[in-house]
């Protein structure tokens, strides 16, 4: 049986049916990891021994009927900015190279309660700052569809691991598109839920008012199942929301009749690659043919989203990252004479250039004399963007948009021009500023065979609508594209 190609839910069913043991499921992951990890580099660390031990425990709980859920015994990978008790958590930074948390993130605990087996921590842009997973201290992750290209970021490791069949699903985090954009680049499904749906406790903060954890997986069913499992009201996170409607799998219905979908004209104009635009509009046609009402409209304020986002996210980051100072944990410089020198050298040596850039930007916009002109103005812009979405959702059930203006760029082509890289976040960051849910699903490929993702954006707490539309699209289309690792496998079989 080819376990690695199964989705999480498919694998979970086989485990419940005793067709597959948890150990076999875990071993299948490590077999594939052994095969491809050298090329892809999805992981910062792997916990094979712990995973196999945990597999035995989970198997017992499945056998005695304690664990009956869809994710029981299914392996998972966790982005390395989520704390895992006793397991190094680096944020792909040198400064946390030796940091071992004493507790696990609430989202990870929720998965573990459901019987998930964590196999490793995935690579990311350092402190989730970047769109390519190239800013990691532990080397870049490569796109499993074409190793010369980036997987996107910052959850590039999670998305690549899923696309390269190293693991059925993974957790990512999304501050400005960090789940949706790499999902799009890697041809998988990823959702950023409404702000407050998944507890941020144990997620090492980048931009606290924007960060959300979400799943990345190979289909919509998996995403809904995982989100249902990790969503919780957590008293430890003051921004956590108490929701009664987290039974997301109930929305997996093949029906979009009467759904009103808005297409923002301002998202489909200049800057959007034709090769991305085409498959997305074709996908819109699929939904239209299935009975959805599709209409173009002007969302407005699009060009203000990027500056507002980079001001707010960097401001929060500059403060959030100040705790990494070499005093209590993490990297500390070797030679120093006094406290301030220790601080300076530790941070100069411990942080990479993109992180430093954002700390400087954030410190600047918060400094006295500039606060009103930058930070306050950005907050006002954020409020206006939320208003623009509010009026859109007064008319539409959801907004259909690209997840990124292009397919995955080549390795090494992005970091030299940060402004250009920031502009690549144009379709995703407004969603974070407004706290909305957004899902990215694969809808096609460009001429080079790189995947294209479509983004569906919903009003706050309307994940179910997104799941329903995405699921319908998935039902109506055949998945015609596979990452090179599916192909390799197929080729291998033929040879045999």
């Amino acid at each position: 049986m080819d376990l690695k190609s199964l989705t999480a839910v498919e694998l979970g069913k086989k485990i419940q049916a005793k067709e597959v043991t948890v150990k076999e499921a875990v071993e299948a992951c490590f077999t594939q990891i052994d095969k491809v990890e050298k090329e892809v580099n999805s992981f910062v660390s792997l916990q094979k021994e712990a995973a196999l031990k945990r597999a035995e425990e989970v198997q017992k709980l499945i056998d005695d009927g304690t664990l009956t859920g869809p994710l029981a015994g299914v392996p998972v990978a966790i982005k390395d900015n989520m704390c895992t008790e006793g397991v190094t958590t680096t944020c792909s930074s040198k400064i946390l190279s030796n940091f071992v948390p004493t507790f696990s993130a609430e989202a990870v605990l929720n998965l573990e309660k459901a019987g998930a087996v964590v196999i490793g921590k995935t690579n990311m842009d350092e402190f989730a700052m970047g769109s390519t997973t190239e800013t990691s201290y532990y080397g870049e992750t490569k796109n499993p569809w074409n190793l010369e290209h980036v997987p996107g970021g910052s959850s590039g490791g999670s998305c690549a691991a899923v696309a390269a069949l190293e693991v059925p699903y993974a957790l990512g985090s999304d501050t400005g598109g960090s789940i949706r954009q790499p999902s799009s680049y890697c041809g998988i499904v990823g959702i950023k839920p409404t702000y407050g749906t998944v507890s941020r406790y144990g997620l090492i903060a980048y931009g606290s008012s924007l960060d959300q954890i979400g799943p990345v997986a190979r289909d919509v069913t998996d995403c809904a199942t995982v989100l249902e499992t990790i969503a919780s009201h957590d008293a430890k996170d003051s921004t956590s929301v108490e929701r009664q409607d987290t039974d997301f799998t109930s929305a997996l219905v093949n029906d979009v009749k009467g759904m009103k979908i808005g297409i923002p004209k301002d998202y489909f104009g200049e800057g959007l690659d034709e090769e991305v635009k085409k498959p997305i509009l074709e996908a819109a046609e699929v939904l239209k043919n299935a009975g959805a009402e599709i209409e173009e409209f002007d969302l407005g304020l699009v060009k203000y989203a990027i500056p507002a986002y980079y001001v707010i996210a960097s401001a929060e980051a500059s403060s959030n990252l100040s705790r990494f100072d070499g005093v209590k944990y993490g990297y500390r410089t070797k030679d120093y004479e006094e406290l301030h020198q220790m601080y300076k050298k530790t941070r100069s040596e411990g942080f990479g250039p993109e992180v430093k850039r954002r700390i400087m930007l954030g410190s600047f916009v918060l400094s006295s004399g500039y606060y009103d002109a930058y930070y306050l103005k950005a907050l006002r812009t954020k409020a206006l963007i939320k208003k623009a979405f509010d009026s859109a959702f007064a008319k539409y059930d959801m907004i259909l948009a690209p997840a990124a203006p292009t397919t995955a760029p080549k390795l090494g082509s992005s970091l030299s021009d940060p402004i250009k890289m920031y502009l690549g976040d144009i379709y995703t960051i407004s969603v974070n500023l407004a706290g909305l849910p957004g899902i990215s699903i694969p809808v096609g490929q460009d001429a080079k065979g790189l995947p294209v993702g479509m983004q569906l954006i919903g009003d706050c707490f309307q994940e179910k609508k997104l799941f329903q539309a995405a699921y319908t699209y998935e039902c109506l289309t055949e998945k015609k594209w596979v990452s090179m690792y599916d192909k390799t496998e197929a080729a291998g079989k033929e040879e045999a």
């Binding site: 989520m82 704390c83 958590t89 944020c91 946390l96 940091f99 948390p101 004493t102 507790f103 993130a105 941020r200 406790y201 144990g202 997620l203 090492i204 903060a205 931009g207 606290s208 008012s209 008293a235 430890k236 996170d237 003051s238 921004t239 401001a315 929060e316 500059s318 403060s319 100040s322 705790r323 990494f324 100072d325 005093v327 209590k328 944990y329 406290l339 301030h340 601080y343 410190s363 918060l366 400094s367 006295s368 606060y371 930070y375």
Partner: protein
């Protein structure tokens, strides 16, 4: 001196709130404790941890705000104050800048016969920092985060005070209010009340303020008084010499009785305040404010009036007893048990105050229970023990909160009322002291005292002196 100067003082007072747990986590706020034992990922600022506001902090802050006539900010928020220092585990302090919990209040102070209002500019909630300890032996610094996250309110006054006496009166008033509300014990030595003094001088009659300095590290009322006097003199000298006062933060050294300027690095900071994104705004409803008002305990002035009326004790006694919440509580609780207000008041006013003074303690340090004081009063009142024994027993009650009944029993301190035994003893004493007997019979009243004294001595002070007196008179008729 040709010119007359007026001192202008405003205070920033930090008060540690009496919550059992810290402001953003469930760790204990207990004073002392081995280093880093009252800590968790939140109050040590570990990555991934998040703060959750302790509602009791808001309630105490509201109570103090209302008792000082402030307006409560009904949508208030926390902000981050960013600065690097190892006692500050996240390198930012969660405080309030833009929307503090309370604003625009005042308290009334009395200095001599003069009454005066001191206005409160604002009051905000914040977290305390940890404690840095320098290990001279190892030549390294260590941090104890037990205090990190202990809730504080900072009360910022307007520059309305003009003398050290007014400052002390203001602080005493704040302390009394906080103690009455149960919001804080306000112990200066333990740092649960701290004051920074902003001081400037100007010529009498001038309308503009002078340049002010801020003085830190003032750990007692005495230090505050000295520091104000010292800083006033320093500024006058500067101005008299034609120099300028520089706006700066100065650290008071109470041993040297001198303040010195802190390095500009420590002073000139840009804290880059911004709204704390990990905490949601606190929305305070009218109902919540009303609830806090309803819960507000009786404050001093109300108590004073009631004591005179209900307990019928003199104004002077009532003033001393209501001077601290601890005394007032003890008084009321003891009266509730024995219903002898005048006697309770006497024990508190005389013996308790004497022992506190002798031990260099404050009323807040009183350890004995109202039950045991009441028992003692009953024992003395019933004549079970005589007054000198009662004082002796009270010292034990004061020091160790012993049960007076048990103590008297165990130590055989009961007054001897056994007439037969006393009569036998009296006969012996009369026989042994013919001179004194003769003197008494000859009209020297004093001589009786000597005889009584001998009997008391023989009884180790436990005899009922009244009974001995009567007995002797009867026998010597």
């Amino acid at each position: 001196m040709s010119r007359q100067y007026e001192t202008v003082i405003g205070l920033e007072v930090h008060v540690e709130l009496a919550t059992k747990t810290k402001i953003f986590c469930g760790c204990s706020t207990a004073f002392g404790g081995a280093p880093n034992t009252h800590t968790c990922p939140v109050c040590t600022g570990m990555p991934g941890s998040l703060p959750v506001l302790n509602k009791k902090v808001v309630e105490y802050a509201m109570a103090v705000g209302l008792a000082t006539n402030c307006k409560i900010t009904q949508v208030c928020k926390f902000d981050r104050k960013n600065y690097f220092y190892p006692d500050n585990p996240q390198n930012y302090q969660i405080s309030q800048l833009y929307l503090p919990i309370a604003r625009d209040g005042y308290v009334e102070i009395e200095v001599g016969e003069q009454k005066k209002k001191v206005r409160i500019h604002e009051m905000h909630m914040e977290e305390d920092a940890g404690k840095l300890i320098h290990d001279e032996w190892e030549d390294c610094s260590l941090v104890d985060y037990n205090r990190s996250g202990v809730p504080l309110i900072e009360i910022v006054s307007e520059p309305d005070m003009r003398s050290a006496d007014e400052v002390i009166a203001y602080l005493e008033k704040l302390r009394m209010i906080c103690q009455y509300l149960g919001a804080s014990d306000c112990k200066l030595q333990e740092g649960s009340m701290r004051a920074d003094v902003n001081l400037s001088i100007r010529e009498v009659g001038a309308s503009e303020f002078g340049t002010r300095t801020e003085m830190k590290n003032l750990n007692s009322f005495k230090a505050i008084t000295h520091a104000i006097e010292g800083e006033r003199q320093r500024q006058i000298e500067l101005i008299e010499e034609g120099k300028k006062v520089i706006q700066e933060t100065r650290r008071w050294d109470d041993n040297k009785e001198y303040s010195y300027a802190m390095r500009s690095k420590e002073d000139a900071q840009d804290y880059r305040y911004f709204p704390e994104p990990d905490l949601v705004p606190i929305v305070i409803s009218d109902e919540w404010i009303q609830k806090i008002k309803d819960q507000q305990p009786e404050l001093r002035n109300e108590k004073l009036a009631r004591y005179e009326k209900d307990y019928d004790i003199p104004r002077y006694d009532a003033e001393i007893i209501t001077g601290t919440k601890k005394m007032a509580d003890l008084f009321e609780a003891t009266c509730a048990i024995c219903n002898k207000p005048k006697k309770v008041s006497n024990w508190l006013m005389v013996e308790t105050m004497r022992l506190l003074n002798e031990n260099g303690q404050e009323p807040a340090d009183i350890k004995f229970s109202p039950e045991n004081l009441a028992k003692l009063i009953e024992l003395a009142d019933a004549g079970t023990i005589n007054s000198s024994v009662a004082k002796e027993v009270f010292e034990k009650v004061f020091a160790e909160d012993v049960d007076p009944e048990k103590y008297v029993e165990d130590h055989g301190l009961k007054t001897v009322n056994d007439e037969g035994a006393l009569r036998t003893l009296a006969e012996e004493v009369i026989a042994k002291n013919p001179k004194a007997v003769e003197d008494f019979k000859g009209g020297k009243e004093k001589a009786l005292g000597a005889l009584v004294g001998q009997i008391m001595k023989a009884m180790k002070g436990k005899a009922n002196p009244g009974m001995v007196n009567e007995l002797l008179r009867e026998m010597l008729k």
